[in-house]
């Protein structure tokens, strides 16, 4: 099986190199046959890469411990589901998986765009080919997952297999952890496609609207997966890591947030380019920056350069990876500078109170947040290089900068969509904002009267209600207008309205999801926690809740031993139920994990952790009361749905396409008649 894997990797190197050479040669010499052959080479890579991934999956499935990767990340008693998921548990396997996804997306991009974008495609193929070459080179020479274990004996090397594997990291044995990495990887990896289109547009000097249309769709796709991956990662940390939170500004979390921030900025600023032909240099730079941040994120996660609980082992491949990032950055910078004359803006900004300027400030804030996160994440590295002392900055740094930036962005979420392009009149401002502002400030007043004194939380709730009101108002106005000239019910009017302009109204739904996430995050300002060492029969109180320890149970499964504290939870004296937070001890990896239990409502989460036993045989129980956490997950789902709405083709756009097709058909018909005549 491993022969198939290694052979496939070798073959990809040859075929991808051919694709790069053939597509560039084809476009230089004007030979479309050669370009088409390069495109077919990408399809061949899809087959080969699938074979390589399949062979590693087979080895994992068979528990073939002769292979180092299988022995290190799997064991005999591991459920089959997790055996397969071990593919992305370690550096070598996950990098193979990464390349596979990259090649699949490259194949899909070529397939979809073959018929159109003829001027761009040779360069798209060449760019993707180079990226494929780099990652496959890593797969084969630097992080080969098909390496066998061997013992040095008198007769030379001998293949050797341990009786059982080391097992999959128990923290990763969770259903979310099985789907979170592939989703996040999809986001990271698929960004290669918009990047390739951008580079192709620059190389071919075809900087019209074609590349913008193609990249906007792909960027939306990547952004969608990146965002979903981030939310799932937070969810996993919350239910599995047992410290009561979902975000800790860990370098690996930051690595996924940075490209998401720049991609979000691009999805907004691209509208200005489509509409007014402005910000061209800016947009090109955003796409390039986003891709480089994706690669940097991969590098940070795997190189162990910034100490993190996530990071894979410190590996010698760090230098090669860093070299790739630097070369790519240098090449892109040269490319943008050399094409500057072609990227001139066609318009100028008119007014501060306009859609354009709100987008401009939105971009500035996204970039500022991204830069702050980047700076904070890499600070240990910089400080060591410059001062010789490794200095890290913790969560206070990230929160201090990003909380106000986040709130300003929330404000713009409400304001931006209601401002007119070019210039808003004072009258329209008053008309659009009077209700949302009144509702927001009213809510703030009520919360203040109820005793809320946390400044940022108050601002956040005022803004959340304000933005929520603007979104509802937009839907309502649009629906009324539609109903008045089409008739029908209110609901059908609203659905119709959304389908006619999916980008606009889907965008509002995404904004609504973001508002809900902010509501949830602001809830964390009021988190409380208690810890107590309890004997059976004793209890502790937190908020309106009382938690009583009934007994301590234990047992064993093939995979792990466990102990549980059985807790009886009641609220205001009323019994809610029994919960059993556990400690698992995984035998293969000799590692304990905590299994938390939660009592979750829309208002708050009661989060129960069994931390361990004291010397006096008391159970240490840790209890958190986290208000409004559930809204973070609900917001994530709403954003997910909103993005799907955006991806549905516009009725209006479809109409245009049909019209254009009809016109072409008519022209052809005329030409034919002309010929006949």
């Amino acid at each position: 099986m491993h022969h198939l894997g290694n052979f496939s990797l070798m073959a990809i190197l040859v075929v991808a190199a051919y694709a790069v050479a053939a597509s560039l040669l084809g476009v230089r010499k004007g030979r479309p046959g050669l370009v088409a052959s390069a495109e077919r080479a990408i399809f061949a890579c899809v087959a080969l890469s699938t074979a390589a991934t399949f062979s590693l999956v087979t080895l994992l499935y068979r528990s073939d411990f002769r292979f180092e990767y299988v022995a290190n990340y799997s064991n005999r008693d591991l459920p089959t589901f997790y055996k397969i998921a071990s593919l992305w548990a370690g550096n070598d396997g996950s990098l193979l998986f990464w390349s596979w996804l990259l090649i699949l997306f490259s194949g899909a991009a070529v397939l979809i765009n073959r018929g159109k974008n003829r001027e761009l495609m040779p360069y798209v193929v060449a760019t993707l080919g180079v990226i494929i070459l780099f990652f496959t080179y890593m797969n084969y020479w630097v992080t080969n997952p098909f390496e066998q274990l061997a013992m040095v004996t008198a007769s030379g090397h001998q293949v050797w297999a341990p009786p059982d594997g080391r097992g999959l990291n128990p923290l990763l044995q969770h259903p979310i952890m099985v789907i979170h990495p592939p989703i996040l990887y999809t986001g990271y990896v698929s960004f290669a496609i918009p990047f390739a289109f951008c580079v192709a547009a620059l190389l071919s000097r075809q900087l019209g609207s074609e590349w913008i249309t193609s990249t906007r769709r792909w960027t939306l796709f990547s952004w969608f997966f990146l965002g979903t991956g981030i939310i799932l990662g937070g969810r996993w940390a919350y239910v599995e890591l047992g410290w009561g939170g979902y975000w800790a500004w860990d370098p690996v979390e930051n690595a996924s947030l940075m490209p998401w921030l720049t991609a979000t900025a691009y999805l907004h600023s691209v509208m200005i380019q489509e509409r007014k032909g402005m910000l061209k240099v800016w947009n090109v730079s955003l796409v390039i920056t986003t891709y480089l941040l994706c690669i940097l994120g991969t590098y940070l996660t795997r190189s162990g350069i910034v100490s993190s609980v996530h990071a894979f082992a410190e590996s010698d491949f760090a230098q090669i990876f860093l070299a790739f990032i630097i070369v790519a950055a240098a090449f892109c910078t040269w490319l943008v500078i050399s094409r500057l004359p072609l990227l001139k803006s066609e318009n100028e900004l008119d007014s501060l109170a306009s859609r354009e300027s709100s987008f401009l400030f939105n971009n500035l804030l996204f970039l500022a947040a991204c830069f702050a996160v980047l700076w904070g994440t890499l600070f240990p590295v910089f400080s060591e290089a410059i001062q010789g002392e490794r200095v890290s900055v913790g969560p206070p740094f990230f929160n201090k900068i990003n909380v106000p930036i986040g709130l300003l962005l929330l404000f713009l979420t409400g304001v931006g969509p209601l401002l007119a392009w070019r210039k808003s009149s004072l009258d329209s401002l008053r008309r659009n904002f009077i209700w949302p502002t009144a509702l927001g400030l009213g809510t703030g007043g009520v919360l203040f009267a109820l005793g809320m004194r946390h400044f940022y939380a108050l601002v956040c709730y005022i803004l959340s209600v304000f933005v929520f009101a603007t979104i509802v108002q937009e839907f309502h106005k649009g629906t009324i207008a539609r109903k008045s000239h089409r008739g029908g019910s209110y609901l059908s009017g609203m659905v119709d309205l959304t389908l006619v302009n999916t980008r606009r109204y889907g965008g509002y739904v995404v904004h609504l999801g973001m508002v809900l996430i902010f509501v949830g995050i602001a809830g964390s300002a009021f988190n409380t926690d208690r810890q107590a060492d309890l004997l059976p029969g004793e209890s502790l109180a937190i908020g309106d809740y009382s938690v009583k320890l009934l007994r301590i149970d234990d047992g064993r499964t093939p995979n792990y031993d466990w102990a549980a504290t059985v807790l009886e939870v009641s609220k205001d004296g009323e019994l809610i139920g029994e919960f059993d937070p556990q400690k698992h001890f995984y035998r293969a990896s000799e590692q304990p994990t905590s299994e938390v239990r939660r009592y979750s409502t829309f208002r708050e989460d009661l989060y129960l952790v069994f931390s361990g036993m004291t010397e006096e045989n008391k159970a240490t129980v840790q209890v958190y009361l986290n208000p409004l956490v559930r809204w973070v997950w609900i917001g994530g789902i709403v954003m997910f749905l909103g993005t799907i709405v955006i991806m549905v083709p516009n009725k209006r756009e479809l109409k245009l396409v049909r019209k254009r097709e009809a016109e072409t058909a008519m022209r052809k018909e005329k030409a034919r008649r002309h010929e006949v005549a």
Partner: protein, 139 residues
């Protein structure tokens, strides 16, 4: 300069300036110096009163829960540091004998009070089978 252009530039500078100010003040609150156990011992009195992140290997059998706090020792070469964890979050499950631990906190009168502890099982997942065996690529 036309007034509307001036407005944009002023707005941009206002935002960037505030971000910079927040960065500097946040940095002072959040910064911590990375030290190994050996480096800490050579710092002497300079180590007192600054926020430190100390890394080392957990001494087998040294983890003890006592009076609501957890105590353990981390070592590097021959130097040992006693750590008293006074934070509120539960300790990570990965904090076990011989794991690589990172304790963040302050050094007071010969003992280290940590408010945050991170740990990873370096011995388990990373050194792996390569230690007493050799690997060779199979092609």
């Amino acid at each position: 300069m036309p007034p509307k252009k001036f407005k944009f530039i002023a707005g941009t500078f206002l935002i960037l300036g505030s971000v910079l100010w927040l960065a500097i003040s946040g940095f002072e609150e959040g910064k911590a110096y990375y030290q190994t156990v050996s480096e800490l011992k050579t710092m002497g009195s300079r180590a007192e009163g600054v926020r430190l992140r100390v890394g080392g290997t957990v001494v087998p059998g040294s983890i003890v829960r006592r009076d609501g706090a957890v105590e353990f020792q981390i070592s590097q070469d021959d130097n040992v540091l006693a750590v008293r964890y006074v934070g509120t979050d539960p300790l990570p499950d990965t904090l076990i004998d011989e794991s690589e631990a990172l304790a963040e906190g302050e050094y007071k009168d010969g003992s280290f009070e940590a408010s945050m502890v991170q740990a990873k099982c370096a011995s388990k997942y990373e050194a792996a089978y390569g230690e007493n065996t050799e690997t060779r690529p199979e092609s």
